[in-house]
């Protein structure tokens, strides 16, 4: 790709595990975190398991719809959705749904490296020309912004926790793979999450 055709960026290239760890470090109120497929939930796992974390092992593109469902079911709990750029591209329509329902307790984070890292780092069709934060704004999620650097990311996360509308934060990340690997046990992951959400009692 010709460098001149790439969109101008003033955002720092950060690291998914570092960003995820910073987010998890800010969670003090049993906030729910929905980790999207692949590296996104691997780094959530590696940042330290919490009962309020849920890790998506399939169904690429559904991290935000699932996070929306949790947010609708539990309006008093802050819900974070973590999603990759390629995943979001599969389900851009969900941004319109979220803008319409406008749950104020939902914070979405898009980890954007422009590639399908886990399948061999092929560029996404959006890599060169599409600004996903602009897509979110145009979809009606006006409270959307790129994080300029790590400190700005933390500021945007804190801001979202008292927002009156859903928030989307774009983060440019490097091409590193995930740091850990989630234990692939979907029933246990779901059951532990429901315990963490307070909707289940242990036997």
């Amino acid at each position: 790709m010709n460098a001149q055709t790439k969109p101008a960026r003033n955002t720092k290239v950060m690291n998914r595990f570092d960003i995820t760890s910073r987010l998890v470090g800010k969670l003090k109120n049993e906030e729910a975190v929905i980790g999207g497929i692949g590296n996104t939930n691997f780094d959530l796992w590696a940042a330290g398991h919490r009962p309020q974390n849920w890790y998506m092992l399939g169904s690429m593109g559904l991290a935000f719809p699932i996070a929306l469902g949790v947010a609708l079911a539990q309006p008093k709990r802050r819900v974070f959705g973590l999603e990759g750029d390629g995943s979001l591209l599969m389900q851009l329509g969900c941004l319109s749904t979220i803008a319409t329902l406008a749950p104020k307790n939902l914070t979405m984070v898009v980890m954007d490296n422009g590639i399908y890292q886990i399948t061999g780092a092929q560029p996404t069709p959006a890599a060169a020309h599409t600004d996903l934060v602009a897509v979110a704004i145009a979809s009606g999620i006006t409270n959307s912004a790129w994080a300029a650097d790590e400190e700005d990311f933390e500021r945007l996360i804190e801001q979202s926790m008292s927002a009156v509308a859903p928030t989307l934060i774009g983060v440019r990340i490097d091409d590193k793979p995930g740091t850990g690997t989630t234990k692939r046990d979907p029933v246990q992951i779901r059951e532990r999450f429901m315990l963490g959400m307070g909707v289940r009692q242990p036997l």
Binding site: I66, Q91, M197
Partner: protein, 190 residues
Amino acid sequence: MAVAEQKTSPQAAQEHTSQEQTWHGIVLQTLKRNDIALVPYVPDRVLTTLIKNLHADPFFTTFPTAREEEAVGIATGAWMGGMKSAVLMQTSGFATLANVLASLVAPSQIPLIMFVSERGTLGEFNLGQSLVCRTMRPVLDSLAIEHHTCTRLDELEFICDRSIKQAVTTQAPVALILNPLLTGGKVFDK
């Protein structure tokens, strides 16, 4: 419940009764009785009245999604957060769901309740619709997902109510297929 309502409001009971005599009235009331308040959908002509009445009833949170799998994702998240839901779609929408059913709903044991308005049979006029319809039951069977084809008004409440309760208590998905014999379906009119 119906007896108590008759005592308090005969008119309301009458409306209630006439609603229950239609397939969409039975579906709506059965959802309500089972505390299913969240109903995301991708619309279909046959579902029009049901969708309109769901919107008109403040008990329900109902809204369109851009794709059927998005609705399934929302229903899954809501279940994990303690809220029951049902998703509405057409046959061709169901045909987009194999991946999410196999990779999310079935392995996570989510009691996903699907209402599928059946097109592609009993008077279909669009070849593509009739072909896509033939993929639905093989997909459900291949994943061992419980499904029932609703053809009779007098059986509908039993099938819906029992299937919803079974889905929730066994933590397993179910598809309730609304056949043209029940709904009238969509016919070639131009």
